[in-house]
């Protein structure tokens, strides 16, 4: 569970990104964070990923008050969260295999297991067979899928994404969102920051709306949710990666 309790965030340059935001996200939810540019969406994700600390209030993730987490514990905390960025943050001088394997390598996973899970994750995002390619040889959409594969390879309980479809055309955006949806359907909590109303309308079940650092709305998209459920692949159709084990 993710809980924001009256959270404020002011950056060193004086900009107040969040001003007393309170909400809770239950395990297994699929949530969109929306709002205009500068509304505070990215700050929420940064606070969840512990890339920033709150100026005021409490951020609790999985029962852990992030402000009380000591520096030495942050790597283990981050290993439990999958993060996807708009700019992918791939290592361009390394093949796709190495990029996807990185979270497992830093966790000290045995090499055989790394190999098995990298292939499974690439299969999951439709890139199996491209392990040795360089990220620069891939399209933007494919690079985003590599980023997703890297984010999910550690089998995180929480997947967060900052504008994952920001640079993609509508077709690719839908394709990427379907990948996220598949992970939510096997129990992963997914939190996506997006300013694309069409995507939110099509895939959103719950939408937390931010405006100038404040919570403007927190709503459910019932019709979109039912439509999504109708189009979603059945669990049995998912590729051969078991995220729960």
């Amino acid at each position: 569970m993710i809980s924001f309790d009256n959270v404020a965030k002011r950056y060193p340059n004086g900009r107040e990104a969040l001003a007393g935001v309170t909400f809770t996200i239950q395990p297994g939810e699929f949530v969109f964070l929306t709002g205009r540019s500068g509304a505070g969406k990215s700050s929420v994700l940064k606070l969840i990923a512990l890339l920033e600390r709150p100026t005021r209030g409490t951020v609790t993730v999985g029962g852990q008050d992030t402000a009380r987490l000591r520096a030495g514990k942050i790597p283990a905390y981050r290993r439990a969260i999958g993060v996807v960025f708009q700019d992918h943050k791939l290592l361009l001088d390394r093949p796709i295999y190495d990029n996807v394997a990185l979270p497992l390598v830093v966790a000290g996973t045995p090499l055989k297991e790394v190999d098995r899970r990298v292939r499974a994750a690439l299969d999951q995002v439709g890139l199996l067979g491209r392990e040795r390619s360089s990220p620069t040889e891939l399209s933007v959409g494919e690079q985003q899928r590599v980023g997703i594969a890297r984010a999910v390879i550690s089998k995180p309980q929480l997947l967060i994404a900052d504008e994952p479809t920001g640079n993609l055309d509508p077709g690719l955006s839908v394709e990427i969102m379907r990948v996220f949806k598949r992970f939510q359907e096997v129990g992963v909590t997914v939190v996506i920051a997006s300013h694309d109303p069409h995507i939110v309308e099509q895939f959103g079940q719950r939408e937390i709306v931010l405006d100038a650092g404040r919570l403007a709305d927190d709503r459910l998209h019932a019709s979109a949710a039912s439509r999504m459920t109708a189009h979603a692949p059945r669990l049995a159709d998912l590729p051969n990666i078991d995220l729960r084990t």
Partner: protein
Amino acid sequence: MSGAVSSYGTRHLQALFGAAGRLVRSPLATFLTLIVIGVALALPTGLAIVVNNLRVATGDLSNAVDFTVHFKIGTPIERVQQIAKGARERTGVESVTVTTADQALEEFKQASGFGDALAALKDNPLPHHLTVKPSPNASGPSEVESLRRYFTAFPEVEIVQLDLDWVRRLHSLLDVLRRSLWVVIAVLGLGVLAVIGNTIRLEIQQRRPEIEVTKLVGGSNAFVRRPFLYTGLFYGLGGALFAALIVLGGLAYLDEAIRNLAAQYGGGFRLVGLDARGLGLLTGVGAVLGWFGALISTGRHLRRIEPRA
């Protein structure tokens, strides 16, 4: 447990080979850095070899503090032998040699060339004497002075012949050389630390995006630091081997000239070079300096790099 150990070892091997691979992929930069470290390590190594060779060239310098104890004329040889035996049992005494008055006269006859004139003497004017050699670890001025007082206290002893000023000068000279060596080692050791630290700093800056991503996916500081430590280790080891090559090359170049010089003085002196122990010490010091330089640099710079979204 064994799986965890194996995984830990695998990660170290990956970091080690990764660091080696990066050095090999930038041969020119690596070579130039190794030259700088090699020269910095070669200077104190060369000085240490010079000091060692000076010791050899001047003979065992501890001989310089040997002294002679002359007995009064008429002292029975048995008493001299007794005093010599007692002295041999003292700590700080390596050897005591007894020379009787007759032996001394015979030696003098042969050495002086006045054999016939000396044969005309009615009595032997020379006394019995002892040649005392302090042990190397007790050849300092204070220890030698203590020995001198010990012998002077015997009423049978006429004079203890010892040039303590020379001993003091000798020890001062050795002290200056030893201290100079340590100063050079300290200064150039700091230089090596600075070179390696700065090289690692530049590499950290160059690889900043990779470090950020690694930390972002949960890489600990220890994980990020590891390849840089191996890089420092390789620089230190490689620099030490370069230093050994420089020193050995220099010695090979000087060897013949020094042998010729020694031959003109009637000596058979040969340069003492870098033996296996010296080479081991040099590479060990190089490796430690490399590792430590990298540790300082990574400790200072890696903490400042935090992932940004």
